[in-house]
Symmetry: C2
Amino acid sequence: MVNELGYVAGTVTVASFLPQVVRAWRTRQTRDLSLASLALLITAGSMWILYGALSRDWPVVATNSGMVGLLVLLAAAKVKHG
Amino acid sequence: MVNELGYVAGTVTVASFLPQVVRAWRTRQTRDLSLASLALLITAGSMWILYGALSRDWPVVATNSGMVGLLVLLAAAKVKHG
């Protein structure tokens, strides 16, 4: 039950980055995004993957893997469009 | 040790939102931010607080509490500046 809540929370977390990624790539406008924030979030997400693996918390591992993937796409849009 | 990693990862996570919040409030430009993303992230963060509390994972509770606080500030900037 708690595990299920973790997976639902994780799905919402990863899904929540989708509108931002779509917006950035569709409008090609990323001026208002902070690259420092994106870089730090990618670092943090990677640490959470390690934390989740070490504490065998798979919802945390799955969520942060999805998040890091989308954040890399967002950072790429920022680097490309400035 | 694993717990410490969680707190370090959590601190980086919360810190990572700071440059974005500062940018949004200082430039008063939030056009490139997705309100849908912010709303979903606030929902997801709240679910993670519940998940962390139920599984007694305090780094997860602390991180998501800080994150939801900063996301509310960011969403407020978006609503105000559009």
